[in-house]
């Protein structure tokens, strides 16, 4: 209950932060929306029409009540509601981020476990080196190299991701392989390095020695005793790496011209479409808070020793 109240408080602070940001734009929100070339009279009319001359507290109340009713604002640049734009883009990004996270998690956990079993071998050092390199690699550069080799030189995959609705991610999978590879390869190291040290800790525990002396095979030790104990904290790590994954999605979508929420964010920044930027920021921040809450709750469910209060 305390954890839930905290999440709600943080979400509330997020709306306050975005509101303050929006109201401190150069020239104020009216100029930001209507543009710098609008006449003073038009600006005044716009200010009055949109209630921007009311006291700030009232305006924040209006903004909050709009948000709670699911109204994220209106993009005057696109002449569309932010909700409509998000409804179109969000599913595409969920497919991209979801698939990449799943693959990064699967490869990361198995690699880390494998390294722990063969610790300090040549393979272990090679894999550690490789994970450092991918961890240090800017997402956009990895994407560019993949395009250079697999699209331009070898013609294996198209340079662009599918452009239509989100279902095309499944009907044209060849266009999704490089974006998903880009986003997952740069995230594997986070999981594999954690899993390696966490599994090594478990191997050193007394209960593993007991199980081993009872004659259990390595396979049994890994599956029944290590994965559960070393793997559960990964859920927390997953929650914490959500913002990074979303930042990565902005880049990946820009490089592969994948029309999801990341590309929308980038275009909004270039076009100075503040209403859209703020709308996206709120929705993403709330998604991160909810993601962290879910990962905390899942953690305490899977590991009853941890009580979430």
């Amino acid at each position: 209950m305390r954890r839930l109240a905290l999440a709600v408080l943080v979400a509330f602070l997020v709306t306050l932060a975005t509101f303050v940001l929006f109201h401190n734009l150069p020239g104020g929100p009216a100029v930001a929306i209507a543009g710098h070339h609008t006449s003073q009279a038009q600006i005044q009319a716009f200010i009055h029409e949109n209630g921007l001359d009311k006291p700030l507290l009232t305006q924040y109340g209006d903004y909050l009540s709009h948000l709670l009713h699911g109204n994220l604002g209106y993009s005057f640049k696109r002449n569309q509601t932010v909700n409509a734009i998000l409804a179109e883009d969000l599913p595409k990004s969920i497919v991209l981020v979801g698939a990449s996270t799943f693959i990064a998690l699967f490869i990361g956990v198995s690699t880390g476990l494998f390294q722990a079993l063969r610790r300090n071998s040549i393979t272990d050092h090679l894999l550690t080196g490789t994970s450092f390199v991918f961890y240090a690699m800017p997402d956009f550069w990895l994407g560019l190299i993949l395009i250079d080799w697999f699209a331009i030189r070898l013609h294996v995959f198209p340079t662009e991701a599918p452009q239509g609705s989100w279902t095309e991610a499944f009907t044209q999978p060849s266009g999704m392989i490089m974006p998903v590879a880009t986003l997952s390869l740069t995230s594997i190291a986070v999981f594999s390095r954690y899993m390696r040290s966490s599994a090594l800790d478990v191997f050193g525990q007394d209960y593993i020695r007991v199980v081993r002396s009872k004659g259990a095979s390595t396979r049994r030790i890994v599956w029944s005793h290590t994965l559960r104990n070393a793997g559960i904290p990964i859920i927390t790590l997953l929650g914490l790496s959500l913002p990074d994954l979303l930042s990565g999605a902005i880049i990946t979508e820009e490089v592969f011209n994948y029309p999801g929420i990341g590309l929308e964010t980038f275009n909004a920044a270039v076009n100075r479409d503040y209403a859209l930027e703020i709308g996206i920021t709120v929705i993403i921040a709330v998604a991160v808070i909810v993601g962290n809450l879910i990962s905390d709750l899942a953690y305490s469910y899977l590991d009853p020793r941890v009580r979430v209060t």
Binding site: L6, L9, V10, A11, L13, V14, A17, L21, L25, P26, R119, N120, F132, V133, Y135, A136, M137, P138, D139, F140, W141, L144, I145, I147, D148, I152, P243, D244, L246, S247, I250, I251, E254, T265, F266, A268, A269, V270, R272, Y274, E277, I278, I280, T281, I284, A285, V286, V288, I289, N292
Partner: protein, 300 residues
């Protein structure tokens, strides 16, 4: 530590474990940077990249202000080892120039982040209670925003240049050090030497600055190293999206932003060298951070 025994060489572990505080810290640093495989590779790589960027132009002189229209996109040759870019700048010389600003912005932004984060976390942890709760909720709130998203929003308002990049990158990276230092100072404040200082009448400011923070120096140093790596990556990413330092200044990310269109038509020298330099620098810094972290862990 036994698992890492083969990596430790030249430095007597006892030396690192005894002696007064400054000598001990120096010994740990020496052990970390020169006594471990990771540390040696990291230090070597970082020194090599730094020399390349700052000393390279002395030996390999190029024109980096005026463009040379006749040589636009010229291939590498004996005099211009990595050819020319799409504006007619010598690419190798530009990599050195771009590296200078990448390293400078990265280091200054990381120092700023560490300074702000350390003070913030130190104060929150030292006073604890309601103040700590409020200060930590502020951090939770800011951590909910994916950093790149906020950076994009900010740079659609502010013109990117050296100082605005340093300030914005720095101010978005202080959250993690603040959390770490807060944790350290929460435990440190209960220790006897802090109580002794308080009994002697030391003020809060003096206790935080003279007694808490110096004892958290290990965490601070390790985190700063990672911060530099992160700042260089964030700078490259922002610059690749077109929000970099204005021309004729450049950095590796901006060079990739400028070169990406030509790279598709076979100008590989505009795509690979800049990216490889980013990776080498970030790997080197991460190696150093890991090595120091491990050496500090070995000490306790």
């Amino acid at each position: 530590m036994s698992g890492h025994a083969p990596f430790v060489a030249n430095v007597d572990p006892m030396e690192a474990a005894t002696g007064d505080a400054p000598t001990r810290r120096l010994a740990v640093a020496r052990l970390a940077l020169f006594g471990t495989t990771l540390g040696r590779w990291g230090t070597g790589l970082l020194v090599a990249v730094t020399l390349f960027c700052f000393l390279g132009p002395v030996f390999y002189r190029t024109e980096q202000v005026r463009t040379n229209i006749e040589e636009v996109l010229a291939s590498p040759n004996a005099h211009h080892w990595l050819g020319f870019d799409g504006n007619g700048y010598d690419e190798l010389g530009r990599l050195m120039l771009g590296g200078q600003s990448a390293l400078e912005i990265g280091f200054v932004a990381a120092l700023l982040a560490t300074l702000v984060g350390t003070l913030y976390g130190g104060i929150a942890g030292y006073f604890g209670g309601v103040l700590d709760s409020v200060m930590m909720r502020v951090i939770d709130t800011l951590l909910a925003f994916p950093s790149l998203l906020v950076l994009l929003v900010l740079f659609s308002i502010v013109q990117p240049n050296f100082s605005s990049l340093v300030v914005v990158l720095g101010l978005f990276a202080w959250l993690v050090p603040a959390r770490l230092i807060r944790g350290e100072s929460l435990t440190l404040r209960t220790r006897e030497f802090v109580q002794a200082a308080r009994l002697q009448g030391a003020g809060h400011g003096r206790i935080v600055v003279r007694h808490l923070l110096p004892n958290a120096i290990g965490t601070i140093v390790v985190n700063t190293t990672f911060q530099v790596a992160d700042a260089i990556l964030a700078l490259s990413t922002l610059s690749f999206l077109g929000f970099g330092v204005p021309a004729p200044a450049t950095n590796w990310g901006s060079m990739l932003y400028d070169g990406v269109d030509y790279a598709a038509t076979g100008s590989w020298w505009l795509l690979y060298p800049a990216g490889i330099l980013i990776v080498l620098t970030v790997v080197a810094l991460n190696f150093i951070g890991e090595a120091v972290e491990e050496a500090l862990g070995a000490r306790t």
